[in-house]
Symmetry: C2
């Protein structure tokens, strides 16, 4: 198995440019400048050792090789896109489901998190629970616990609320520990 793999950015740039037959249009689609596309495509051609485009003064044309490459690259990206959407429907834009242990319910402002409009975009639902297993099954995104879970592979952040002596523990999967949603929730708790 070889891992001298062309870069994703290069392939993305090629795919978009080939569809539009224009670096400028590809750039706008991908939200970068045309110079970036030009460089990416050039690097890709360099890595492959062949030309993918003919640069005519009138615009772009695919070479025979580019023509052959495009449909397969597109197909691979479609596959990845579909698989990604299936496994992570809303990518990073989604709201979290949070479990709260019974014992700390009354430490939180009543109605939390509904009382704070800041958290609306980040919290889908809350539920009374302290079962870390629900995190591993992706049924919950985070837990608010009153004691440390220690050493089980989850991320755990200590949260000190303003009017409370004992800290809370914000527990998530490692990957979610530092996402926008988690940061918003923690900073709201710390008021």
């Amino acid at each position: 198995m070889t891992y001298r793999f062309p870069s994703l950015n290069g392939l993305k740039a090629f795919e978009a440019a080939a569809r539009h037959l224009s670096f400028k249009a590809a750039a706008s689609e991908l939200g970068v400048t045309a110079g970036a596309i030009s460089q990416q495509v050039k690097r890709l051609e360099e890595a492959l050792g062949i030309s993918l485009f003919r640069r005519l003064p009138q615009g772009l044309l695919l070479t025979k090789e580019g023509e052959a490459y495009l449909p397969e690259v597109s197909k691979a990206f479609d596959l990845l896109t579909d698989a990604t959407e299936r496994v992570a429907p809303a990518m990073n834009g989604r709201k979290l489901s949070i479990g709260i242990s019974q014992s700390i319910l009354d430490k939180l402002p009543k109605g939390w998190p509904r009382h704070s409009p800041d958290l609306d975009p980040y919290v889908r639902e809350t539920r009374v629970s302290d079962d870390v297993e629900l995190i591993w099954t992706n049924d919950l995104d985070a837990l608010l616990l009153d004691r440390s879970t220690r050493h089980n592979g989850l991320s755990e952040q200590e949260v000190c609320m303003q009017n409370c002596i004992e800290p809370l523990f914000f527990v998530t999967r490692p990957g979610l520990a530092n996402c926008r949603q988690s940061r918003a929730i923690i900073s709201e708790l710390e008021c």
Copy 2:
């Protein structure tokens, strides 16, 4: 079409780690350290908003989502690998085919480039030609001409040989202008 796309490196790291169920083994396969794999996977999980692995003290396990994701990601990589090998059989390791215009044949050391063992790894064949079209069709990788081709979308580098007043022009597709092979040939010419 969405372009909030997980990074290729992240997906590569996930795919290798999921196959081996080990960050260390994946790292060795990809030629990086385990820390890099760990970070890549974490970033990917962050981007997707889900866990792909369960990190048990005994080692890695795939979550349900990781299990579902793996085969599709693998398939996409296989597609890209196959397509890439088809369109660029030897990736960047191949030797160049060089066209030399009749008029400068006698300016070169006799037997060029065979006289120089340095160029062996970089030159497959030479042929007498000055037809830039052969470059666009990928039949030739480069041309050595005695005059500038000006403004046709190809890259052109002026080469000044030691014992020669008039310069040569090393003409390639844009993507090949700065590759290892081209650099070796040009620096050999400039002696």
